[in-house]
């Protein structure tokens, strides 16, 4: 339906927004590539919706400029930007049928009746709403309303589709289904998607890149594996999933990365120690640690005592404390957890050097 070339490329340059004395967005610079699926991730109140509203043209930024395909669109009104938008709560026209809702942007563009009929029909087919054409939004389920909102925002082939927490009101199984569908729509249309969520697993599963927000600041942008495995700071590390933090002392560059002392034992890291020297925090994801009776010489390891477990079905979450009292959580196969808890509880935790990364000590 859409030429991939028509997808928009967006540049935000030093965007800021103040509401009175409150800074909702601060000096945000971000390039959104043509046809990419960018997710804005952050806790509630971090400025995601505000940024989306600025992209759509509903909110004027206090500072900064916005470019679309090289043209400055900062002062262009929303109705001329033609960004497709799916609002939190869908914002369907309650007095129009499914068909009329989807036809709205085409009617505004004065398309012929025949073209409208054809494209609305195609879109209804594509989002699986056949048979519901004449219903009003109030007669549809949450998932169906969601599809109408998506269809309405995509039917006029916008250069960019903006989605504000579209799945937050759906139950878990429906959410998974809609996520898959959205990924498919992204591939089929080739349009640039900017998707807002506060759910980290959703962000990691869907996006080509993730932009992490907190308190109106953009903290890090990168591919899901980059931000997950190499978070720029403690907030990003913790927001993207559970993580263990161990203090390391005397960090210094070594052959293949960096080295330091973790509870009096030498540990190696594959990351560079240029920026972080001396005392730091070593962060390791729970699924990257394993349980062993002993750590081999030269292997990264720390002695710990198992203190409890949570059965998760496919795996068990095991809670441990180290000799110096740091709390660690690992996720391991169920039998391993049972063994660790029975065997006098004292075990070694080991991890590959490339799975640990350094964060500055203290703050962010």
């Amino acid at each position: 339906m859409q030429q991939p070339g028509r997808a928009a490329e967006i540049k935000a340059n030093g965007i800021g927004k103040s509401f009175g004395s409150f800074r909702a967005l601060d000096d945000l610079t971000l390039d959104i590539g043509r046809g990419e699926f960018l997710t804005l991730l952050g806790p509630s109140g971090s400025g995601k919706t505000t940024f989306l509203m600025i992209l759509a043209g509903f909110v004027q930024p206090s500072e900064g400029r916005l470019f679309s395909d090289g043209a400055d669109i900062t002062d262009r009104p929303a109705e001329q930007r033609a960004a497709g938008m799916v609002f939190q709560g869908y914002a369907l026209f309650p007095h129009m049928s499914v068909e009329q809702n989807i036809a709205f942007p085409l009617k505004v563009r004065k398309k012929t009746a025949a073209e409208i009929k054809l494209r609305v029909g195609e879109m209804i087919e594509r989002v699986g709403l056949r048979g519901h054409e004449k219903k009003l939004p109030a007669q549809l389920s949450g998932g169906q309303q969601q599809r109408v909102a998506l269809a309405r925002a995509l039917v006029f082939e916008p250069g960019v589709l903006l989605l504000d927490e579209p799945f937050s009101a759906l139950d878990k199984s429906l959410r998974g289904q809609m996520q898959a569908e959205m990924k498919r729509l992204h591939q089929e249309t080739g349009t640039t998607f900017v998707f807002v969520t506060h759910d980290q697993s959703e962000a990691l599963a869907l996006s080509s890149r993730v932009a992490i927000f907190n308190h109106g600041k953009l903290l890090q942008v990168g591919r899901p594996d980059e931000v997950y495995d190499r978070p720029a700071n403690r907030f990003v590390a913790e927001f993207l999933g559970e993580i263990n933090m161990l203090p390391v002392k005397g960090v210094r560059p070594a052959d293949n990365g960096a080295t330091g002392l973790c509870e009096d034992r030498a540990v190696n890291m594959r990351c560079k120690a240029e920026e972080i020297k001396g005392d730091a925090i070593l962060a390791i994801r729970p699924e990257h640690m394993s349980i062993a009776p002993e750590a081999a010489a030269g292997e990264n390891g720390i002695a710990a005592t198992a203190i409890g477990s949570t059965y998760l079905g496919a795996a068990t979450k095991l809670d441990l404390t180290t000799r110096q009292g740091a709390k660690v959580t690992v996720s391991v196969p169920n039998e391993v957890a049972a063994a660790a808890l029975s065997k006098g509880n004292s075990v070694w935790l080991t991890w590959p050097a490339e799975k640990g990364f350094l964060l500055p000590e203290g703050g962010q």
């Binding site: 609002f87 914002a91 709205f104 942007p105 505004v108 563009r109």
Partner: protein, 277 residues
């Protein structure tokens, strides 16, 4: 919001004295009026027969309906514009609109009717001004006719038309309007194709309230109509206090009450009472 059962029982208990008062003050005397309509001057349906055959009564009924319809259209249209400014305007516009809506409530119907006479009469402000700028040579007849009645009634009823509209506009989801604009619709188009249809329940409520009120107008038509644009309420008054033809006056009252009752039923099928205030 749906209250719990005990909430509702509590509310019903609190309202009971009021209901009792309304029954004693209105419903009970009205039964007397119903009785008159079937018994005076002679028992039977004679008064209702007269009502149907009397050309004067018929013309008054038709005039009343016509005036009420015109007043409804004009009042709701004007109220819609005022309410848009009141609910969605800038802070200054809101204050001005609120002033326009509330001031009429501080001045009695009688004062306002005479005020309009002063403005609209042959030597009133408007005619004097139009003549002084040479726009007209003879004064226009703006009062003591239906035009004057419509002006006075519209002025009185606009504030009542505002409240159901304001309630509908306030409960409207702002994001739906943003969505329309984001999809490429101009402000004008968004207003006509999204905003107005979404306030439909307010428009219906507002129109029915104005229409029902219009049917019972007495003072305004009496003063601004100058005896030439008699409406039903005035006709009832004339039959009972001047003719005196109590039976016919009572029969007209009964028909009016039934008609208004039917309209109210229609009103409450379209809007919840909560939306009217």
């Amino acid at each position: 919001m749906r209250g719990t059962l005990s909430d509702r029982t509590g509310a019903a208990l609190l309202m009971a004295p009021l209901l009792l008062f309304l029954v004693l003050a209105y419903a009970w005397p009205f039964l007397g009026v119903v009785k008159w309509s079937f018994t005076l001057p002679t028992p039977g349906l004679g008064q209702y027969g007269a009502l149907v055959s009397d050309p004067l009564v018929q013309s008054v009924f038709i005039r009343t309906l016509r005036i009420a319809a015109i007043v409804t259209v004009v009042s709701v249209t004007a109220a819609y514009a005022i309410t848009v400014v009141w609910v969605r305007g800038s802070p200054v516009q809101r204050v001005l609109a609120e002033f326009c809506i509330l001031v009429p409530f501080w001045i009695s119907v009688l004062t306002r009717a005479f005020g309009w006479v002063a403005l609209l009469s042959n030597r009133g402000l408007i005619n004097t001004w139009l003549q002084s700028i040479g726009f007209i040579s003879e004064p226009l007849t703006l009062v003591r006719n239906e035009f004057g009645v419509v002006v006075g009634m519209t002025h009185f009823l606009i504030p009542f038309a505002v409240f159901p509209l304001a309630s509908a506009m306030r409960s409207l989801d702002e994001r739906v309007l943003l969505a329309a604009r984001g999809l490429g619709s101009s402000r004008m188009r968004t207003f006509w194709t999204v905003f107005v249809p979404m306030t439909r329940s307010g428009i219906i409520g507002s129109a029915l309230i104005v229409f029902v009120f219009s049917l019972g107008f007495f003072v305004t038509p009496a003063i601004l109509g100058g005896g030439r644009s008699v409406m039903i309420a005035e006709l009832i008054y004339l039959r009972i206090f001047q003719s005196p033809d109590w039976g016919l006056g009572a029969a007209i009252s009964v028909v009016l009450v039934i008609f208004v009752g039917a309209l109210m039923a229609l009103l409450f099928r379209h809007v919840r009472p909560r939306q009217l205030v």
